[in-house]
């Protein structure tokens, strides 16, 4: 076994796919930053709100006010440097840190694909992605045509985990046997040309989409790995992601996945891309021929490899952490995030907070719009960790305003996948006295139904 692993780790492959991946990733991330800026979201998400939701353990992360623009600027420039491969190690570290910091500033914007970008850029810190066809290589006047196999396989593995885990998450009774939430989402696309009033309204189509979505996620990495099915599989990747892009407001994620999936193609394909880019570049400045060294040996191999091993063990186990929580995952969302549970449920809530003076019994309700943006209120209203965090914020706020003996209660209702809304949080529990932890939250009321499956 150990011998097999060692043999595997000495295998090598062309560096071209990794170089193309680096370029594609960097350019898309740079565009992503520009897009976010132009949409005005830096302002509305990071600067306007009076209060920001923070991840448990990352409460120390500060928002930067107007300096947030500088952070986005740094992040965009770093992405561009990654693309051209200039000072790659510093650039990718700067990108990972700035992007992750941006995400940590506001929990309400959590998206699986932002998390994907964060961990992918972390992984790329350890990959020799700048050894071939990069500014770094041209400056050092040498490049490496061959890199270790594991460098490219680790990206494939991460993509495979994302797809397969997203597929596993769909193995539940709501998704497969009720076609939920697609049965809610698809009919509302009635204004799409041609298919809006026809396909989108068909019951069988909702089931077909649910089932084929599940099979797609579970199987696509394997069809991409296998040379004979690769081209057709890639066609499905493009079709699937473009189709979801038409249906749902999912921004750049589909394109990130499409470009990423190119890494499954063999080196000949990537060499063609590189030749194509070279032609474009040589119009601007002549590329001087540099020395190409066949084989790149990894420095700090004894650190990097165990590190990547640990990284993947964590990636494989973290999505299953929900198993240690007793209640329905979709209801409590304990262990829901960071698990590739993508577009998996339709959940809406309403949370009405009550500030009570425990001595006198007098109380009043909070108007959430006084403190939260619509996006924050929407996210807060059905996620218990948000509700608790906000209850503490309200408690602190009203205490500092001179209110005494403050207790915070919430009347809340949540509707999940088309079920009628049910009371969500025990309204007799003073949330201001409850602490956030990884333990199950006893104040979440039971879910009066059952969702079977993984």
């Amino acid at each position: 076994m150990n011998w097999k692993l060692n043999t595997y780790l000495t295998k090598t492959t062309s560096a071209a796919p990794l170089a193309v991946f680096r370029i594609g990733f960097g350019l898309m991330m740079c565009y992503g930053m520009v897009r976010y800026w132009l949409k005005g979201w830096i302002e509305t998400v990071y600067i306007t709100p009076k209060y920001h939701f923070k991840y448990y353990g990352f409460e120390w992360v500060k928002t930067l006010g107007d300096y947030t623009y500088i952070l986005f600027f740094i992040c965009g420039i770093a992405a561009l440097l990654v693309a051209i491969g200039y000072k790659y190690k510093y650039a990718i570290i700067a990108f990972f840190l700035s992007f992750t910091y941006i995400e940590l500033m506001e929990k309400a914007t959590y998206l699986n694909h932002y998390y994907f970008i964060s961990i992918l850029s972390f992984l790329m810190i350890f990959l020799p992605a700048e050894r071939y066809f990069s500014v770094d290589a041209y400056q050092q006047k040498k490049q490496y045509a061959i890199v270790p196999n594991w460098a490219i396989d680790s990206i494939k593995l991460l993509l495979g985990i994302v797809y397969v885990y997203a597929g596993l998450a769909k193995l539940n009774s709501d998704w497969l046997f009720k076609a939920m939430p697609l049965k809610i989402w698809l009919p509302s696309k009635y204004d799409l040309p041609l298919i809006g009033e026809t396909l989108m309204q068909q019951n069988w189509f909702h089931y077909a989409m649910s089932w084929s979505g599940m099979f797609y996620d579970l199987l696509i990495p394997f069809f991409l790995l296998y040379r004979k099915t690769r081209a057709v599989a890639f066609f499905f990747v493009v079709f699937f992601h473009v189709f979801t892009r038409v249906l749902f407001p999912i921004g750049m994620f589909p394109f990130v996945m499409i470009v990423s999936a190119l890494i499954f193609f063999d080196s000949g394909f990537h060499h063609k891309i590189i030749e194509y880019i070279k032609k474009g570049v040589s119009k601007i400045s002549e590329l001087k021929p540099i020395e190409t060294i066949p084989f790149y040996t990894t420095k700090h191999k004894s650190i990097i490899l165990p590190m990547l091993g640990l990284f993947f063990v964590l990636q494989l186990t973290i999505p299953f952490r929900y198993l240690v929580y007793p209640n329905e995952l979709f209801w409590t969302e304990e262990g829901f995030r960071f698990s590739w549970r993508v577009m998996l449920m339709e959940k809406m809530g309403y949370a009405n907070f009550k500030i009570v003076d425990s001595k006198t019994g007098t109380f009043f309700y909070v108007d959430n719009t006084d403190f939260l943006t619509p996006l924050q209120e929407k996210q807060m209203s059905f996620q218990p960790d948000f509700i608790l965090e906000y209850a503490h914020y309200l408690g602190d706020h009203f205490t500092s305003q001179g209110h005494e003996n403050v207790e915070v209660y919430v009347k809340s209702f949540v509707a999940l996948n088309g079920r009628l809304s049910q009371p969500f949080v025990n309204e007799d529990v003073n949330l201001y006295a409850e602490k956030e932890s990884f333990k199950p939250k006893h104040w979440i009321l039971p879910f009066n139904d059952e969702i079977k499956g993984l």
């Binding site: 407001p249 309403y350 619509p374 209110h403 809304s421």
Partner: protein
């Protein structure tokens, strides 16, 4: 070969999916085909609710202007009584229109110039004293409209005799006149827009986008119910958002005995829109209710109506003057609030989820 394999997999998928679909119609929340005709719903709401209500309101305001003209010409008790009665009629009709903050009404901030309360009496008095003012200015939103007239007709002096004496002053006459005239001209602007061009734009705007009429209407409807009705009329005076009750924040503070009636009218208006009931009469057409029924959500539609009915009963049990209710027995007031609140949950969580409308206030990528 590979094409054949994939072909087989695809066929298998479709067969599997189709075979699954047969036994699913009875499933939980199993809406089948969303063949609901949204254009028919918008047409019903425009032709049988909004436009007739505007027509009626416009007539009311013509009456109000005439009564005001008579009063300003001859400020005596009988003209005052006639003016008050026109004002009350128009105020009741207004409750059927405030929720339609769409089209021209939204563009000119109509409802903010018609019914912002509590009115700002010191702004009114300083406007009157100076004799120069721009009533369309945002800063005067709380010095115009029904609440301002409420003050001018009931609160400007201690009793009727004193009020009549006040209107010896040309400045008072002018201000009353200008406020009422502005209400009429704003209303004509909106009403004319509906009858000339906006009606057709409105009924054709059925897409599921943030700015389409069908989505804005439902968002405005829920927003009005939550803010204009539940919070403004009941919640805020009852003190549910403050440490103490705020009885002087009731609607029609100076007239005193109509705040309950206005709240009941508003609730009736909301329920009629929900059920698609015509403004003139009891015929009903396509509405949120029938939309929910098309989605196999009759249970939810019935729940919403029963929650409206409970809230109505709670409101009916209150004192005609909600200010008195708050100061004598605020518990009943908060109970009415709680009853109204339950319907907010049904509308905002369950109904919005069923329609899956693109909300106009959240702009960000999804997952």
């Amino acid at each position: 070969m590979k094409n054949r394999v994939i072909g087989i997999v695809l066929v298998a998928l479709v067969v599997l999916a189709c075979s699954k679909s047969d036994d699913s119609n009875s499933g939980n929340g199993g809406g089948t085909n969303d063949t609901f005709n949204r254009a028919a719903m918008l047409t019903n709401i425009a032709d049988n609710i909004i436009i007739p209500a505007y027509e009626d309101f416009s007539t009311d305001l013509n009456g109000l202007v005439t009564a005001k003209d008579n009063f300003v010409a001859t400020p005596n008790q009988s003209n005052l009584d006639a003016l008050r009665s026109s004002w009350y009629n128009a105020y009741k009709t207004w409750q059927y229109l405030e929720m339609f903050n769409i089209g021209k009404a939204e563009e000119i901030q109509y409802s903010f110039k018609m019914n912002v309360y509590p009115t700002n009496t010191s702004d009114i008095e300083s406007n009157i004293a100076s004799g120069t003012y721009d009533l369309l200015n945002v800063n005067n939103n709380d010095a115009v409209g029904f609440p301002a007239v409420d003050y001018m007709l009931y609160g400007v002096a201690s009793d009727d005799a004193a009020i009549l004496t006040t209107y010896a002053s040309a400045n008072y006459k002018n201000y009353l006149s200008d406020v009422v005239d502005q209400m009429q001209s704003l209303t004509n602007t909106v009403y004319t827009d509906w009858t000339s061009s906006y009606r057709n734009t409105f009924v054709a705007s059925t897409q599921n986008t943030a700015t389409s009429a069908v989505n804005k209407l439902v968002n405005d409807f829920i927003f009005y119910y939550e803010k204009g009705l539940r919070a403004n009329k009941i919640g805020i005076p009852a003190g549910v958002f403050s440490s103490t009750a705020l009885p002087s924040k009731v609607e029609a503070l100076y007239r005193e005995d109509i705040s309950k009636t206005l709240a009941l009218e508003a609730l009736q208006a909301v329920q009629d829109v929900f059920n698609g009931v015509a403004y003139n009469g009891s015929a009903s057409g396509e509405s949120y209710k029938t939309y929910l029924e098309t989605l196999n959500k009759s249970e939810l539609a019935n729940l919403i109506n029963s929650r409206f009915n409970t809230a109505k009963q709670k409101l009916q049990g209150l004192n005609a003057n909600l200010k008195t209710q708050v100061t004598t027995d605020n518990t009943k007031m908060t109970e009415a609030y709680d009853a109204l609140q339950l319907a907010v949950v049904s509308l905002k969580v369950d109904m919005l989820q069923a329609f899956n409308v693109s909300v106009d206030y959240v702009d960000a990528d999804g997952d």
